[in-house]
Symmetry: C2
Subunit: 257 residues, 2 copies
């Protein structure tokens, strides 16, 4: 068996935010297994002859079950293929990459994890918000909105413990989340921002407070995929996002919508 599975972080959206190592192993792929969040341009980095297998959710259809994805990686690895499993963000940040790595490990298939830029940090940054900042934030925590509402995360405790909170997949439960954070003791006038399609040409963001962000986001029709960032650092978005609107480069010309 000479197969290998690379679990590759595709980064937050902009295809240029994949790592050099990620691009390198894509160029070696016999098969690329990918889902919705990967930038389509990244598939062009694989050889023309490489097989591309989409395992994301199609509109109106069920998602490919996680165990089927793992079985596919194992099967192709055992067949001797160079398999690239391309995952949005970082494979180990809410990406189920750990499960895929374990599946490879248990099947005796060599694998390598190629980390990626996570939206947990890059989505706030793309809106002009550093998750840490001297005098404003010495700690940050990352959860998902689904985790924070009934799936094992004590959002009130997280809210009380850390300066900056990042909630991924936050668009669907934004009102519920902001309300829960205020109930947990975060000030209603605390700065907050939501960023949709961060680092892509479709990026849009709304900045406000915990109290008014849900209405502002609704008015702006912010939908998934979106990250919510809450904390004093979110106030920096006004100054930093404005400065970035210089149109000198693609990444610097994102309008502050």
């Amino acid at each position: 068996v000479s197969g290998i599975v690379y679990l590759v972080g595709a980064g937050p959206g902009d295809p240029k935010l994949i790592t050099v190592r990620g691009a390198e192993v894509l160029a070696l792929a016999d098969v690329v297994v990918y889902d919705r969040l990967a930038a389509p341009e990244l598939l062009d980095l694989a050889p023309a002859t490489a097989e591309r297998v989409y395992v994301g959710k199609e509109p109106g259809r069920a998602a490919v079950p996680q165990e089927d994805i793992e079985a596919l990686l194992v099967e192709r690895g055992l067949a001797g293929d160079v398999v690239v499993r391309l995952k949005g963000g970082d494979p180990f940040v809410f990406g189920r990459g750990g499960e895929e790595a374990l599946a490879c490990s248990r099947a005796g298939i060599p694998f390598e994890v190629v980390p990626g830029v996570s939206a947990a940090v890059a989505a706030p940054a793309a809106a002009g918000i550093p998750v840490t900042h001297r005098g404003l934030a010495r700690s940050f925590a990352v959860v998902t909105a689904s985790g924070a509402h009934g799936d094992g995360v004590d959002l009130a405790a997280v809210a009380a413990a850390t300066d900056t909170l990042v909630l991924l997949m936050a668009a669907g439960k934004l009102e519920q989340t902001c309300r829960a954070l205020i109930d947990a003791g975060r000030p209603a006038d605390e700065p907050a921002a939501i960023v949709q399609w961060a680092t892509t040409p479709d990026q849009r963001q709304v900045t406000g407070t915990l109290a008014d962000l849900p209405a502002l986001a609704l008015a702006a029709s912010i939908g998934p995929p979106a990250a919510l960032v809450v904390g004093p650092v979110a106030a920096l978005a006004y100054e930093l996002a404005a400065a970035r609107a210089s149109e000198l480069t693609k990444a610097a010309c994102i309008p502050n919508s």
Copy 2:
């Protein structure tokens, strides 16, 4: 003025873990401003004619003051240079990149933040530890050891709130940190790991429990730079790090020391 400042995340150590965009802007640099954590090989991506300015701490000498670094970026930007400020990890994760971005903004200098792979996620990953994992961790928090001991972070609250804790710059206060986490209610037998020089050829890691990790790390002479990861996910290191020791690739052949 046609100058611009790029604040570029160099990634966690392996030079191939810079982003494609980061490598691209390095190739445009008139001047590269860098410090200790950047991989030396990254400087080779800048043109041979580019000026390289080291602003890190030299042994036995004081570090370059942050305000001097910001003044340098502004001065060179105003002079019309393409300035690349290369920072370890991600510029906005304990990197003071926010302050440098504000300095550019206030001076009217265009800038772009190019995010990087943070050691907060990549150092655990390099030891075979996903910071999130189904059934084990739905949340993670990131602090520095100095922040957690007298500098504004309520480590006990963070410990109580999140499943996985990552402490950066953790080597110097490891015993104090593990003790504080046990005092905060984390189980003494909770899995924990410390990873030094993650993703570089010099990477070394020790895995144990909150109770025995300080002694194990001392015996193994683990020093800075190192990240500590605490939580049930750390137990996955045994299976995942062993599987990665396949020697098929550089990143896959790190011994589990």
